[in-house]
Amino acid sequence: MDKRLASPSRRLFLQTSAAVGGGLLLSFNLPAAGRAAEAAAPSRLNAFVRIARDGTVTIAAKRAEIGQGMKTTLPMLIAEELDVDWAQVRIEQAPVDNAVYGDQWAGGSMSTPQEWEPTRRVGAVARALLIAAAAQRWGLPAAGLVTEPGVVIDPAGKRRLAYGELVEAAAKLPVPDPQALTLKDPARYRIIGKAHPQSDNPAIVTGQPLYGLDVRLPGMLYATFLKAPVFGARVDRVDLAPALAVKGVRAAFVVEGGTALDGLLPGVAVVADSWWTARKGRQALEVVWTDHPASGQSSVAMAARAAELARQAPQRVMRQEGNVETALAGAAKVVEAAYHYPFLAHATLEPQNCTAAWKDGKVEIWAPAQDPEEGRGLVARTLGVAPGDVTIHLTRSGGGFGRRLMNDYMVEAAWIARQAGAPTQLIWSREDDTRHDFYRPAGWHNLTAGLDAQGALVAWRSHAVSFGEGDKFVRAAEVDASQFPARAVANHLQTVSTLPLAVPTGWLRAPGNNAFGWVFQSFIDELAHASGQDPVAFRRRLLGEPRALGKPGGWDNLDTGRMRGVLDRAAEMAGWGRAVAKGTGLGIAAHFSHLGYVAVVIEASVGDDGTPVVHKAWAAVDVGRQILNPSGAEQQVQGSVLDAIGSTLRQKITLENGAVVEGNFGDYPLLRFAEAPPVEVAFVLSDHPPTGLGEPAYPPTPPALCNALFAATGKRIRTLPIGDQLA
């Protein structure tokens, strides 16, 4: 039983519940705490807290949990300002309702910068209400009262009231203006800045249901969905009988689908009483797909076309400063290089999946998703229902990396469940997952740089070949012309040409940056070596005096001083300049993305069979003045560094006849245990608001690795993955 009574004082709810804690609970939410707050932070201010009479605090985790730890970290912020004992806190995943909770998506390392201020204020409001209730009880002014975890104390320090005893009275008080409250002095933090294991750990290590694939509903069936290998091709002919003949198969049908690559695509669904049975039914099918213009696409043809474009005049100028041609003509040394990186898949370990159940024209969905609100819209549009008739429950995600910002699997599940007439869990096979991703776009960069007689970089020209048409790039293929060393070199020209593409593309951990970081930080290393300068010294020189290169708060606002700080720290951690064994090399790179600064040093060598061996990685990270949860923070950095090492070593998605060749982990290999080096992480604190860690440690890692391998072998990697290039 759960009864809510809206109180007249803004959005304060008094909630009684027999289910939780057995008593009167105070709960409140703050959908919008006034214009000031909205101006200060791009997100809307929201939270949901319940306090039981026994002092137990239940905090709703509003953002999707994909392994980035926000289900633990955001409640920590509330608990800190509320002033409670972390051991008393229970965490629940909030329902998907942006009207109540504001942004709930997880991506772009944005949760920390968006939530840091407003989420703490939610805790502060709760504490102020409890103090006000105690003040009323004691007939004292609230100003003199203080709190210790879970209790309000009078100014004399004699009387104490536990939060649980104050809930009832606090619930009747008006909600104070969050902006008027003073937040805790960080010197007094008891929770923020201390390592806290993830709140779901006990459930994870005992195998309790948490993930999308773990959802179980009464009468639930399991589905597979066979789509054309060529993106967007339609079903021409199919005989469904062989699938229906498999014992346990309940339904098999063609889904018409549309043409948008990020919507519901055509295919054949097989629904059965277990996933294994559905898979058997699917294997019995022989589908003839329609011819599709995209079937001509191949990686080889794209590379040939990109090479042609590289020889021609660029289609567009993205950024121009000084006069690059004159500067190149007058340079003492000119260096040229062409770099290429492949399409990449996300390969979340939990394959895409979703469970849907229809009742009376309304659908309930359980999904591992990074952007559930987008999914609601897609489902509503595609199935012709009102958004309000789509209820979404967020499950924990077995990895995200940007894949689950797209909701293709959600709309498929909703469609299939409606036609099957039963609650249905759609599960993609690993091969489905690899072959129907939204890929990190491939790209080609053609670079020319000029150095003067003193070895100073005087000209930088870059012609990128990416995917798009006219002045539009396909998703995640934008060429960001603010990438360093833009604005740090007097004569700079960034141009671009595009190729058309009919392959779904999307955001992968540190979009854009995960490729540009490698290209630019590798080429900078080439310039250091070409001019006989130490790679760290050359970078310091290039960074110059500490200064901001963009507008305050902007995503391109690189601060050269902060970059220098992480560069120096990483060099120091790794003992840059020390003697290493013959055949071993140290490489460094530093990159700014998602408001964070990370420098990485890698020590590597090459085995007798030509396989790169990474001995160790060091990462120095500047994401502002406060690390929210040091345990989670270190994990994100280690994970990003190792993720990038894995992709750099061996990963690529290849297109042939319009289809993706790779299928399972045998040909799309993830980094394995024995080849993962130790990653030492240090945080450089700087006086800036805290920012996110899901992404910025990725971009400097591929170049640090390739630069290390150059130092070890003298061979420069200009095409990814490294594969057997050093054999």
Partner: protein, 153 residues
């Protein structure tokens, strides 16, 4: 076909085709969802369970080949003292990121520590190399295995 399996010390009857992998018997027939599906091809280790204490990939183990062997899954491994120590270390060292691979990792680590109570780094490499972690929690997995075996982390 009817099969009687011993899972986490309990006898369970299931009615499935004999070629059904143990993974899908656990997950779909018995609603034991702790054992995970990652690849279906013995390439990731997410589905690792024990048969008579030996780690196997449930995704490629047809149910008819299980016979009378005792099946242990993540839901039951905690009743073994080694398994319980591994789970404890996983929690305190805060190994999981997304956590999806960790059931398989814990099953692999428990089998390792049962066979070798104080494994060397090389032993750990060999035992854990078949278990992928997409989030790359490998540094912490190593630490947790050392902690669970009473070695310096």
């Amino acid at each position: 076909m009817a099969f009687t399996l011993t899972i986490n010390g309990q006898s369970r009857n299931v009615e499935v085709e004999g070629d059904t992998p143990l993974l899908w018997v656990l997950r779909d027939a018995l609603n034991m969802v702790g054992t995970k599906f990652g690849c279906g091809a013995a390439q990731c280790g997410a589905c690792t369970v024990h048969l008579d204490g030996v780690p196997v990939r449930a995704c490629v183990t047809p149910v008819r080949r299980v016979g009378t062997k005792a099946v242990t899954t993540i839901e039951g491994v905690g009743s073994d003292p080694v398994g319980a120590r591994v789970q404890e270390a996983w929690k305190t060292i805060d190994v999981p990121q997304c956590g999806y691979c960790q059931a398989g990792q814990i099953m692999a680590a428990t089998a390792l520590l049962t066979a070798k109570p104080r494994p060397t780094d090389a032993d750990i490499d060999a035992a854990m190399n078949g278990n992928l972690c997409r989030c790359a929690t490998y540094n912490r997995i190593r630490s947790a295995i050392k902690a669970a075996s009473g070695q310096e982390v």
